[in-house]
Symmetry: C2
Subunit: 169 residues, 2 copies
Amino acid sequence: MSISISDVMNGLATQQVHGLILVLKKAKEYAEESNTDAATLLAARLHPDMHPLSWQLKATMETLTRGSARLNHAEVIDLTLDEADFDGLIARIEGLQQELLVLDSALLDQSEAESFDVPIGPGATMPMTGKEYLLKFVLPNFYFHLTTSYDLLRMSGVAVGKRDYMGVS
Amino acid sequence: MSISISDVMNGLATQQVHGLILVLKKAKEYAEESNTDAATLLAARLHPDMHPLSWQLKATMETLTRGSARLNHAEVIDLTLDEADFDGLIARIEGLQQELLVLDSALLDQSEAESFDVPIGPGATMPMTGKEYLLKFVLPNFYFHLTTSYDLLRMSGVAVGKRDYMGVS
């Protein structure tokens, strides 16, 4: 027994994407109760030159969908995630979660020692094994955009707590 | 070959704690150039009832020090991390990083299937294997406080970028 790539990817889809859905359900309640437009919340930024919440949500899920596609030797495509209200976003993310949960674990796991050219910036790629790609790239990027999404809603006044983020409520 | 607990913990100490140090070095530069007190930056919060940056930094490192102590069957103690300026914080975190890098990998790895009673709230514990504890508790908590620390400094105007967070600059 040890940790496999599919253990990690399934855990992210099960626990952390579940947590994101809990957070978005609270954002929806907040928008309704406070009479705030979803568009206002989705445009929240930490700094004028930083991406807004709508972009952070897309980046969170895209890190998983592109990451798992790469590890599965499937086509790596940009994700569309541009729903303008919380019901739409939640339904879309639940759909993506289901797709992640039915990925072929054996295919994911055999990528561990394979080499991938991972884009790391405009015109630049870096060779990494599947294991390096998961630990050094997918995990920090996923958690970065997930936490920043949470932080933006927390900053905006949505009553989310750590238990929502952790997917345990 | 597969992923071991020590692979993950060493990666966090090497890449992500390195990234945190890069971020704090930029915070130090910003404080000097803008004539801002370190205390002002360390008191930044996303919301009045959320913990400030000083607490987030402590929580980031404590998740690793307590996590690795538990997985090593060592005493799990609260961390002191209350330096009031960036030079002090950077030196302290560099010291903790060195302690994390010399942990006994074999001891960490043998915890994978062992059972631990993990505190999950006031008076409550949950039994988890070392593997579950790492994936479901240590990773999401560590990245939460790490990203929130970055977000607070970004919000405050410090010119940090994703490459700093990723530990690649």
